[in-house]
Symmetry: C2
Subunit: 230 residues, 2 copies
């Protein structure tokens, strides 16, 4: 079947790609991917924004709007072809790539991260580990030899590392982030309890369970659910 596109339409599509997408929207895309894969596994080839919204607890409108930032993936009256939408989203997020990761800090947390089995199936490969403690250097952890910090820049270049994971104590975190960014790495997953200052082209995601807990305790005021008041 042959299709005709108006110049208006094409122009619109180009504009979309150039127009920068709100970060909140980008942050939701991986959730869509995950949900869609699940739906596919459950045997559905087609899904409506309505249904997807139900499983993700979002409004259908939000899902449609989010997707519309990137293109037109659905069919009116029918919904989205799950298989197609997943591949499109994976493409947008570049999830088909293999991403090479260096972990800095091989204390308890760093070791847990290196051995975490959830990264690899998603294409995230931890292929190098560093530590500033010379007693750790040379040790083998999960098949990796811990390297000294001053090999960071060379290894990043040689092995094509694009992502850094920071798992050092708070005191060293800022320095480590600085060193990582100066190697040209533009994506950092930071487990240290600090908000590192980075140049604008670098993305940082902070993971700090203590902050998460501390923001929940605000809501834990005596609602006294559970026991019968009598």
């Amino acid at each position: 079947m042959r299709r005709v596109y108006s110049s208006d339409f094409l122009c619109n599509e180009v504009t979309k790609l150039l127009m920068d997408v709100p970060e909140v929207v980008v942050n939701r895309l991986p959730q869509y991917v995950r949900a869609l894969r699940q739906i596919l596994e459950d045997g559905s080839e087609i899904v409506s924004s309505q249904l997807l919204g139900q499983t993700l607890q979002m409004t259908p409108a939000q899902i449609r709007k989010d997707l519309s930032y990137f293109g037109r993936f659905g069919k009116q009256g029918r919904g989205y072809n799950v298989r197609y939408l997943v591949t499109e989203l994976q493409d947008i997020l570049q999830l088909d790539h293999e991403w090479n990761i260096a972990v800095v800090g091989v204390g308890r947390l760093g070791r847990a991260i290196i051995s975490y089995p959830g990264f690899s199936p998603e294409g995230f490969k931890v292929i190098a580990a560093f530590d500033s403690d010379s007693r750790q250097v040379g040790q083998s952890i999960g098949g990796l030899i811990v390297q000294p910090m001053d090999e960071l820049a060379d290894t990043v270049r040689q092995k094509g590392i694009q992502i850094g994971i920071v798992a050092v104590p708070a005191a060293q975190a800022s320095d480590v982030v600085e060193r990582i960014t100066s190697c040209g790495i533009r994506a950092i997953l930071n487990y240290a309890p600090v908000n590192p200052l980075v140049p604008p082209e670098v993305k940082v995601r902070n993971i700090d369970p203590v902050l998460s807990l501390q923001s929940m305790t605000y809501y834990l005021r005596s609602g006294d659910t559970g026991s019968t008041s009598n």
Copy 2:
């Protein structure tokens, strides 16, 4: 020193406490606490919103507005007394309490969480561990005896557990969250890669490093920083 408050003023304060604070604001409070503690350690007793904003990479206006949801903690022309502001924020967030936590799932991740030394100094005490796998039950991990799931409700009541941490595989996560909430727990830190559905009075914070990574790779398009183009 004796103070006089206008009824207007008092009414305003009461309104503030009743008025619900945006969740984004509450989520920033722990960051303020952390930064302020650091500032105190560095020897400053007084801090301006300007300076605090610099260390946290926020605008001074945002900090002032956030704090104004809860009261008036500063002095014009001077700034905030750090010690006082910290204690006020800790009070608001209820950080002086000891919070009892149960971890569900004692696989690799669950064990790491139980042994994580960062919770205890902040008043978060992991005092119980559960697993549905009978081979795990009875084992000792970090001083805790792993209990079977059907002891959950009783233990929560007996030991006054207010927070649950979920560290089970994705497939079991929804069930586990359901069981935890049905014990009356209203705060859950979820490490499983799912968005559990909970009643509105329950707060959930999801921690999923894969989602964080996947949202960063969107931005890792060929900016080709690093090598000199010539």
